[in-house]
Symmetry: C2
Subunit: 357 residues, 2 copies
Amino acid sequence: MKKSTSKTKDATQQSAATVIDIARKAGVSSMTVSRALNGTAPVAEATRAKVLEAARSLNYVVNLSARRLKATHTGVLGFVVSDLQFPYMAELVGTASEAARAAGYDMLVQTTWSDPQRERLHVGSLLSGLCDGLLIALPNTEPKHLRALAQGNVPMVLLNYWRGRNGFNMVRADSHDGAFAITRHLLEQGHRRIAFIAGTSHTGQSPERERGWRDALEEAHVPVDPELIRFGGFTEEGGRRAAAELLDLANPPTAIFAANDLMAIGAMAVASERGIDIPGQLSIAGFDDIPVARHLNPSLTTVSHPFAELSKRAVQMLFERMTDPKRESQCIELPSQVIIRNSTGPCQSQRSIRKVK
Amino acid sequence: MKKSTSKTKDATQQSAATVIDIARKAGVSSMTVSRALNGTAPVAEATRAKVLEAARSLNYVVNLSARRLKATHTGVLGFVVSDLQFPYMAELVGTASEAARAAGYDMLVQTTWSDPQRERLHVGSLLSGLCDGLLIALPNTEPKHLRALAQGNVPMVLLNYWRGRNGFNMVRADSHDGAFAITRHLLEQGHRRIAFIAGTSHTGQSPERERGWRDALEEAHVPVDPELIRFGGFTEEGGRRAAAELLDLANPPTAIFAANDLMAIGAMAVASERGIDIPGQLSIAGFDDIPVARHLNPSLTTVSHPFAELSKRAVQMLFERMTDPKRESQCIELPSQVIIRNSTGPCQSQRSIRKVK
DNA sequence: CTGAAAGCGCTTACAG
DNA sequence: CTGAAAGCGCTTACAG
């Protein structure tokens, strides 16, 4: 009731309680309040009780901004992602949050919405002054836009698909080997005309997957037919268009490998509209294993990323950097896994060459 | 190169650049730096250019904690959610972020992971000292745990299912009317034995949906058979168990309305394992319209929430509170919408009473 | 258009 | 176990 400072006339628009308010109410210094609240140093039990009671009655909520300004440790990790509505991003963030929490850290998330402008100007500006460490999953951002942040004083770890050593701490999901393995699976089913639907190339994922597809074809001595490569832009609609073009070919493919599940779903839709049986007449495979993949009809053969493992390892790596900032940068790649479901099967087409064993 | 302050011996572990560093480099005061960077007051063009260049070369990133401590406006909104891995939460956050951004605000997200302990002790402590306003989507949290936060000096708006006026600013999704409408749809298809699979009750959603179901039955003069109410706990597995029990009944239902899609998916799985045709022999309806619903086979009849609209309205309401904190609290309810797909159809069972027109 | 002073709310480092 | 002083990096309010 008598909490107003000298100059405040009206208490209706009261501001948040501070350690000073608590100190006054409990009859101690603000330092004792700080220690009692955080447990950073021993405080007499009676004093602690008084402070806690005062804090509660004043609805005290610590001001993290103030704490961070002075303290070296905030107990908060930051995660910058492009778009939470991609299910895998949500899973990455979810698992990382849990891992952070298990270590006593909170997590704050910022989305950039894949806006390059925003990412360039803005990446980390919200979180870097606030967190003890930063996780960054910005597949579309160019490395140079992350340099400034990396040179700041907050340790950071990247989650993405970039190839090559670039001085960043990084946990990467394999794309090439998964694409190689799923293409080989199609080859083993007797397919020889296997199309590839590509996504946008700047993130590195699509080129990696295309490379895996090529390498598998090459290993099987199947020449690459340029006609069988189409662009689908990583969208369902793009997958539809690409699949329609492929099926209109004089010599259409007997199998389609799309660089992501969304495009595979588009391809499946086109096929079923045309009365083409999957996998009887056409096998379709995707990449990513998004949640709907298992629920499709037929369920989609695809490649799964170990997202949970990826983010756990990223958090672990981040903690290592936080403990020892001078440690050399490191890059880990985790293997993906082919999930064979019902959208792929033996090649039945008369057109296909049937000399596979 | 000569950026180290007097006491720093070693520049290898350099700390982040501050306005002072920029000021020194540009030969101006820190106030001029602040003004040039933020555009809060006129600065000579030549001066501004020098400052911007110095900032760039020093990889300057503003320290939001410091800014917030003094400034009344941070340009950041906070969103506290229980779990981003629920697709609808991700959508809520996504749409709200876009709305915020359209108004020139950034958004920071905190997850509480449905940990009551964490929510009680922690809600808002991370974000309240940092943001200009707070959005809160914590369906499982008790109102009293939000009181302290509401009494702080940060305007906030809740997104949830609570009923009743409680002094909070709130945007709510309808559950009752959607459940009523979908049950009526089943009645119109000739169903009389319509089961209800309930979820956990503390969030208020399941009881609301049950009430809608009851009201529709009552309107159609169909008595409620207690045998047809089962608990599924909002999980797929719970839905399986509940559906199995229902189908084992001497007089089984011809339609099942599950309080959410996950339980409906479980029910569909049990039915198809038993060779029961959907919707030929059994109609199944869910609630929520999660992304997989449209991709199921058959696609799921369900009720859709206007999530995008909900969060847009919440952001709008928040901006109103930020402008005028004294404004009276307000509660908006937005209507849900029945989406009829292929998992529901006319009642064919011999057991069902066939006197619907 | 620019600057010197003060302070936001907290915690570190130093005393007792 | 407790406290007085100083300062984190920024911006407000006041001067010029």
